[in-house]
Every structure is written in structure tokens, then in C-alpha cells.
Amino acid sequence: MARILVVEDDKDLNNAYCIILRHQGHEVVEAFDGKEALSKLTDFNPDLVLLDLLMPIMGGLEFLQKWDNAKRRKVKVLIFTNMENSPEIAEAYKLGASRCIIKSWTAPHNLAKVISDTLNNKNNKSESVKSVA
């Protein structure tokens, strides 16, 4: 099972993702903005970062920009956003995101599948996926 850093400012959603991922056996640490996520990277050393884009203090794109490039390349980044069809998604791919999914379309069982596919390199660098429950 993987080490996953959940970066999501909405407390309810952050809590839900942590419950789902722990339930599936992953080791999970949460952060509520990009700055907090940067500070937790070194100690936690995740395999995958589940990253929201629009957050206070430091958003997802700024987080990707500030993350050490060499270290970032070793970690899968799964963008989890509600900003469908937005230029920010293209920017996230440029900054090394592996995949992008739309939160409000994704049910817990789909989240589990997307995470295992991303960790196993399936659909790597693919387009945004609209996964409906």
C-alpha cells in the first residue's frame, strides 16, 4: 500500500478522503494548503500527492512550482479539482501532474481505482477524466 499526502482545504472533503484511503490500507497524512503540504513533504516522503488546486495561503500550482524539481519527479501527483475545462489543469500537467480528475464526479470506489492506476503508471499523463459514480 502507498504513502499518500492529501492536500485539500475543505475540511469535510479532506476528512472523507483520509477515511477512504486509510480504509483501503494506505498510509495517509493530510494538509490543508500548499504551504503546509511543502512542510510535510520531507518527513512523510509520499508516493502520491492528492492535490487540490484552489486553496488559501498557497494553491496547488504554487505548491508544484515551489516543490524541489528533482524530488517532485519521483512522486505521482493526482490533481483533484472542480475547475473543469480550466487553463489551470494544463498548467498542472506542465508542472508534472500525472493525472487530473473532477472531484464532484468521483465516487470513493473510483478514487481508489484512479489512485492504483496512477501508482501503477496506467493512464499516466492522460487527459482529465470524468468519472461518474
Binding site: 469535510d12 484552489l54 472542480n82 475547475m83 475545462n85 464526479w105 465516487a107 482529465s128 477524466v129
Partner: protein
């Protein structure tokens, strides 16, 4: 002294009077030109600047003496909003001079001193007795308009994000309940929660549709073209569409006709949105136990996708309104109360964005075939 009388006024006086009138007319014309509230520049037939009004000089950050007498195209470079330098032949003032007609355009003007200003340009030829003398260009700064557009897009994006965040929480927690994360549920509890999920999905679709329509109408929809196989893209969304079809015992099939490649350069997400809309429409408006078929027909320069159903069909009298905003078929409103009348309007807008076409054939009581075609490569999308 040779004196010639003309109507009692000698020619010297006549000439003096004409000179005074001409000077006055010229001064007036000059004053009018200088008073134009937008930037105005005139050029001769060789493209050299002959006149500049103070607004033009101010907008470009140059003195009139730095402009007059110089070739317009050397002093001011026109750059498209894609960042490409425009050819002299494509610039409005050249086209107006060459075609003899007014030409409009929007671009960024960059001076030889490095100042950049986005402008809306209106150029017209100057002719005297049918002979082209040069051209005049009137332009204005559109920085504020661009900023307002950017703020509008940002607002739409933020509003949609804010609407979806609580919806995501509602849906995720409801799913956690139905998936048993919080313990076993009895069948009635499970059915009630599934109703909440279905309502959240409808709300989500509505937000997506409104967001897409606003972006289509404001021309700000993001397009990310890449080379894909269209059949594979459609296959990715088939499982979710099959779920909807199965709930009505409708058979959903997909087939590819012909041996041409299904490769195409287009935007995957928009194609998925279009197919999802057309197929879910077909399922929605087909009675139980019917059939919906997706047929992919790859042709030489384009790919045509057909979605046909054995549904209720569209009455003849509604055929010309089917892609209009908020329109719903009269035979459908009685059967299906849910629906916004925005789906096909959005599909049409999305196809326009991808430089594609959408049309249909329908016989009331027998079924409908919707078609869309996309060029394999489009110059309109980059």
C-alpha cells in the same frame, strides 16, 4: 497692371479669397482630425505615416515627430493575441488600402521603443476621385475590456468551484454511507441515499452545463487538442453510459464502420462531453427495452459519429428549434419532466469550438439519429 474683371471682382481678390477658404478648410480638417477621441493615423500609398493625432501618439507613447514620415509597419509591430507577429499584408490598414473596403481587427501594438498596447482597429482606404491615396486607421486601447473579460472568466470559474465544493462533500459522504464505510444499511436507507446521489449528479450536470455555456458564449472555453483515437475516447465513457442504459433495459452498442484510422487531433474532454450529452439524451428519450447505437465512421478528412436510438423522435415542427437555448420538444415535456433545454444548445456550441458540425434526422415515433463530424486536423484549434 493687367486687370481682369470677373463679376465685378478682380482675379487677384478671387485667388486670395480662394486661398483663404482653402487654408481655412485645411485648418478645419486638421483640427477635426486632431480632435478624434480615438487614436488616428493616416498613411500614404507607400505605408508611410502622413498624419498622427495626439491620442494616437499618447497611446503609443511616441511623439508625433517620431511617427510622421516613417513607415507605419517599422515603427509599430502588430502582434496577434496568440503572440504571433502579423504579416504586413494581413494588417487591417494594408487590407483596407488593397481591397478598398473598411477592415476591423483586434491585436497588440508594439512600438519600436517596446511599449505594448492591446487595440481594436478600424482601417479605411482614402480615395480621391477613385484614386487610392493611402489609408486611415482609427484605434482604441482595449486593455480595460480585456481585464473585464479576464475577471468575468475568473468569476465564473470561482463561482463554479464554490458551488461544487459543498456538492462534492454531500456526494462523497453519501457514497461512503452506501459503500458501507459507516456500517451496514437496510435497503430503504440505501435507496434513499442513492436518490441523494442521483440528485447531486443532476445538480452537478447543471453546474457543468451552465459553466460550459458561459464559457462558450464568452469565447473563453479552454481547448487542449491532442492526437487521440476517437473510438478509444468514447470507450472510456461507455461504462458510465451503460449504467444509465441498463436502468431502462436499453441496449447500448458501439461499432466502427470502415477501415480508416480513428486518429484525430481534438480535445478529448469536449468530445466526451458531447458524446455523453447525445447518448444520455438518446437513453432518456427512448422507451424501456429500446436500443441506442454509437456508430463511428472515420472518413478521409473527418470523422463522423452517429448516435441513433429507437426513441420517441422529434416532431417535424420542432426540427428548426432543436439547438435553441431552453428549447424542449413538445412531445417530450409530457414524458420527461427533468431537463433544462440546454444540452443540445451546449453541444452545438462545443462543436463550433472544435470546428465541427452537428445535425440530426428524426421520425416521430420511430427514433432519432444525431450526427457530429470533426475535422481530423483543424486550423481553428491549436
Amino acid at each position: 497692371m493687367a486687370i481682369e474683371e470677373t463679376n465685378g471682382i478682380n482675379t487677384d481678390d478671387n485667388l486670395r479669397r480662394k486661398t483663404v477658404v482653402t487654408s481655412k478648410t485645411r485648418a478645419e480638417a486638421d483640427a477635426i482630425f486632431r480632435s478624434i477621441g480615438d487614436g488616428a493615423i493616416t498613411t500614404d500609398e507607400f505605408g508611410r505615416i502622413t498624419r498622427v493625432n495626439p491620442v494616437a501618439a499618447h497611446l503609443l507613447g511616441l511623439k508625433e515627430s517620431e511617427l510622421v514620415g516613417f513607415p507605419f509597419f517599422k515603427i509599430i509591430t502588430a502582434v496577434s493575441f496568440d503572440g504571433e507577429i502579423m504579416n504586413v499584408i494581413d494588417r487591417p490598414i494594408t487590407r483596407a488600402f488593397l481591397t478598398g473596403r473598411p477592415v476591423e481587427g483586434k491585436m497588440i501594438y508594439q512600438t519600436n521603443k517596446g511599449k505594448r498596447v492591446p487595440v481594436s482597429v478600424n482601417a479605411s482606404p482614402i480615395t480621391l476621385k477613385g484614386k487610392p491615396l493611402g489609408a486611415i486607421e482609427v484605434f482604441r486601447d482595449i486593455s480595460l475590456e480585456i481585464e473585464i473579460d479576464r475577471m468575468k472568466s475568473e468569476f465564473i470559474s470561482l463561482a463554479s468551484h464554490q458551488l461544487r465544493t459543498p456538492l462534492s462533500a454531500i456526494k462523497t459522504y453519501t457514497h461512503m454511507l452506501t459503500d458501507g464505510y459507516m456500517g451496514e444499511l437496510n435497503p430503504m436507507q440505501k435507496t434513499s441515499l442513492e436518490t441523494i446521489i442521483s440528485a447531486s449528479n443532476r445538480m452537478n450536470e447543471l453546474i457543468s452545463t451552465l459553466l460550459n455555456i458561459t464559457r462558450i458564449e464568452s469565447g473563453t472555453i479552454a481547448v487542449y487538442p491532442k492526437i487521440i483515437k476517437i473510438d478509444e475516447t468514447i470507450k472510456e465513457i461507455l461504462p458510465e453510459l451503460e449504467l444509465i442504459a441498463t436502468s431502462k433495459q436499453i441496449r447500448l452498442k458501439m461499432q466502427i464502420v470502415g477501415k480508416n484510422s480513428t486518429k484525430i487531433k481534438t480535445d478529448t474532454l469536449i468530445v466526451k462531453e458531447v458524446v455523453t450529452n447525445l447518448v444520455s439524451n438518446s437513453i432518456k428519450y427512448t422507451p424501456d427495452n429500446g436500443q441506442v447505437t454509437i456508430i463511428v465512421r472515420p472518413k478521409k478528412t473527418e470523422i463522423v459519429v452517429e448516435i441513433n436510438d429507437t426513441g420517441w423522435g422529434i416532431p417535424n415542427r420542432s426540427h428548426d428549434k432543436i439547438f435553441s437555448k431552453f428549447f424542449r420538444g413538445s412531445n417530450i415535456i409530457k414524458r420527461e419532466t427533468s431537463g433544462t433545454g440546454l444540452g443540445l444548445y451546449m453541444v452545438k456550441g462545443l462543436m463550433d469550438t472544435l470546428n465541427g458540425k452537428v445535425w440530426f434526422n428524426s421520425v416521430e415515433g420511430k427514433g432519432t439519429s444525431f450526427f457530429f463530424s470533426l475535422p481530423r486536423v483543424s486550423n481553428k484549434i491549436k
